[in-house]
Symmetry: C2
């Protein structure tokens, strides 16, 4: 069970976008994080499809958050990148074999699937409790109060 590495990229990009004044193009985002330009663009497309970011074309185009950072949760980003399919998918093997479960018993989901579903729900709830704004505030605490000032300077300089 491995999460896509693009999730980390997307979250960091959202934190950056929350502190930018205007649109930020994908190559700029990639350069700032030292990652692949083209591959990051692919992930940003997923964010755009889910309506988390808005893309503007043209000479001074780029990506902008569609909502305030306080209203974007980490779960939103994860679902946009990884998709909404649950990690565990029940194949109903209890209906196979010489002693298959009766159709009446299968009206309720099997216990294994219920346990997995509950765990995934807990995971989602935890991620839903953290917003991009929270992460941005954490960066300020860890890296110093002038971090985003220098970020904006770099954005306007290049």
């Amino acid at each position: 069970m491995k999460m896509s590495g693009g999730v980390e990229w997307a979250i960091h990009c959202c934190v950056l976008l929350s502190q930018a004044d205007g649109p930020v193009p994908a190559p700029r985002l990639a350069e700032f994080h030292g990652i692949s330009r083209t591959y990051l663009a692919k992930h940003l497309q997923h964010l755009s499809r889910d309506g988390l970011v808005s893309s503007t074309e043209g000479r001074v185009g780029g990506y902008v958050l569609t909502r305030p950072a306080e209203q974007i949760t980490v779960l939103d980003v994860v679902l946009a990148i990884e998709g909404r399919e649950p990690a565990f998918r029940c194949t109903e093997i209890r209906q196979n074999g010489p002693l298959p479960a009766s159709p009446a018993a299968c009206k309720r989901a099997c216990g294994v699937a219920r346990a997995m579903h509950a765990a995934e729900q807990a995971w989602r709830e935890s991620l839903r409790g953290v917003t991009i704004a929270d992460l941005a505030a954490g960066v300020l605490v860890d890296a110093g109060p002038d971090t985003f000032v220098r970020l904006r300077e770099w954005l306007s300089a290049s």
Copy 2:
């Protein structure tokens, strides 16, 4: 983020083993669930490596749970199959690019990694709260009280 399908198989096998009287060989387990013999054997090897099941060779060999079903959690099985590596692994991209985070700021884990880690911890705690015995009890409720009786009959018959 997709979980291995072998996890479902392994959990169902553990539930079955918790109700068996003696060792159950892998081909029997596979036949009962209508799944691949050889591939299931591979997953059972993982359970054996982690000490969840004990294997006995020879003519009447097979797999037996090493602990009572009340002391085996779903998390144990998931970790045995999927491995103990966390789904999210931080690549520390905050240290890249033109404005890298200072080494002092990196003494603490980055906020993204902390959020992911907390979510995964919640997921683990949820899975840790369900035991193989709980699942077996759920099967009794869903499929009827005589389910395991018929299971034992089938095991001794074939």
